[in-house]
Symmetry: C2
Subunit: 286 residues, 2 copies
């Protein structure tokens, strides 16, 4: 199972609009406040770190939901350096693989929300500073009254098949030898399936058909929704757009098996935390 797909909390969204009720939840002895520095979670031995409810009480705080009866919040601490707590802020993308699915998902939701808050301090409609509301799930504009909702960007990520091989590509920014599924943001006015076909053609010059949905994954870096697809290429010819990819090539079944087993002589795919891994690995299972 990829990271971030667990849903361990009741999001209890009806509670978000009750500001007084949220203050009461935060004051409860069983309330947990997960510590972040900006958008990075504090971890100690790979586990989330809690912060006392009275440390930086005015720092951005989001209500994540209920774990049974226990209210769960997260707080984005300010400071030019991380305030001293147990553990230290971590790169969630690297750390999530060693975490429980529940911890990873809760921290991922908070990370996506904090990333959104950090990028949306001003009203896109009139330019004045906005204020968080609804337990961190809205921002309100005092100037024009617009209610801003967190942004979630859908991405089509695709397993491109042709006979007994898969097409993988690599970005010039990636570590040497790293290959993955092609992917791109779904544009306005476009179906998921059309985005898949467009990206395959733009990035690798490949025409695809029979686009099938495989599964989804939130990816909070900063706020994507990965829509995992499989599709079939009409041929094996590849024409890479160097503005998008450094290379793309076909991997046969033996190579794909080696990539999944991490025994390939010179190449690798993303870890099991990424839906790209699942797209590749599930192809081996037919």
């Amino acid at each position: 199972m990829p990271a971030f797909v667990d849903e361990p909390l009741d999001r209890a969204d009806a509670r978000r609009t009750d500001a007084e009720g949220l203050r009461a939840l935060l004051a409860r002895p069983d309330a947990r406040v997960l510590a972040f520095w900006r958008a990075d979670p504090y971890l100690a031995d790979g586990r989330p770190v809690l912060v006392a409810a009275d440390l930086q009480p005015d720092a951005p705080t989001v209500f994540l939901g209920l774990d049974g009866e226990a209210p769960v919040f997260a707080r984005s601490l300010a400071g030019s350096a991380p305030p001293p707590l147990a553990g230290a802020p971590a790169d969630l993308r690297m750390a999530v693989g060693a975490m429980s699915p529940a911890d990873g998902s809760v921290l991922g939701t908070a990370r996506a929300l904090f990333s959104w808050h950090h990028r949306h301090g001003f009203c896109s409609r009139c330019g004045v500073p906005t204020a968080p509301a609804h337990g961190g799930w809205r921002r309100l504009c005092p100037g024009c009254g617009t209610e801003h909702f967190p942004r979630v960007d859908p991405v089509a990520i695709m397993r491109i098949e042709q006979g007994d091989a898969l097409l993988l590509g690599r970005s010039p920014a990636w570590p040497s030898g790293m290959w993955s599924c092609l992917a791109g943001f779904v544009e306005p006015g476009e179906t998921v399936e059309a985005a898949c076909a467009r990206e395959a053609h733009e990035e690798a010059g490949v025409r695809v058909r029979d686009v099938r949905y495989v599964g989804s994954q939130p990816w909070p870096f900063p706020g994507s929704l990965m829509l995992g697809l499989a599709c079939t290429a009409e041929g094996r010819e590849v024409r890479v757009d160097p503005a998008e990819l450094e290379a793309a090539r076909w991997f046969d079944r033996d190579e794909v098996a080696a990539l999944v087993a991490r025994t390939h002589r010179d190449s690798a795919i993303p870890p099991a935390t990424a839906i790209a891994h699942r797209l590749v690995a599930s192809w081996l299972d037919g």
Copy 2:
């Protein structure tokens, strides 16, 4: 086929970054500029209306792509009343049912882009006015340098099945007798499947399982991506949240057949342009 899912143009996204090339495309004799007033397309006899490239040349203009060789743009004309052209601005949601799939999709893409531009004149990061770029597919901030991308909001819309019946709900804002599929925005940190389960429970108190993806549809009012799903309810008990729905009830197969055929005595579902219609109608076919 629902509206807006056709993809008649080559979006030719590599051309978007070439400002001089776009000016040359706009000047070509075979260029077409679709007329909008704000975010509403001009229609004459149900067909898109063209505007001369030199009418309000500084009004927001987006490059939609190539129809064969012909460049296709859209322009959002300003004015407290619609400038006089052939036809008149129309509500695309109402008009799309009488249009060709190609016209509907092209106008839908432009409508989504113009709606985004109208709501994003200022930088959400630093508050200064931004400027359109990349043929209307970006906005750039001269203050902090942020590049803003059009927003696409994923929505889970679901056919909830239980035995030989479907659960439909109605919003208090809808016309009397109108029923449709339950739906809600996918939140940060959430899979599509989890959003489906959460919305079914929040809105109607129903627990669902076996969430399957059916298909997608862009819905440019103002910028949603509908992700059509089917799922199975664990029981028939319904507990409506009055903040979300006015009512929800089960419709048996005969009633659903009457809804699809538009012969139901007192109830109706959205027209075939909406993915909700497809979700309901395709259930009858098994």
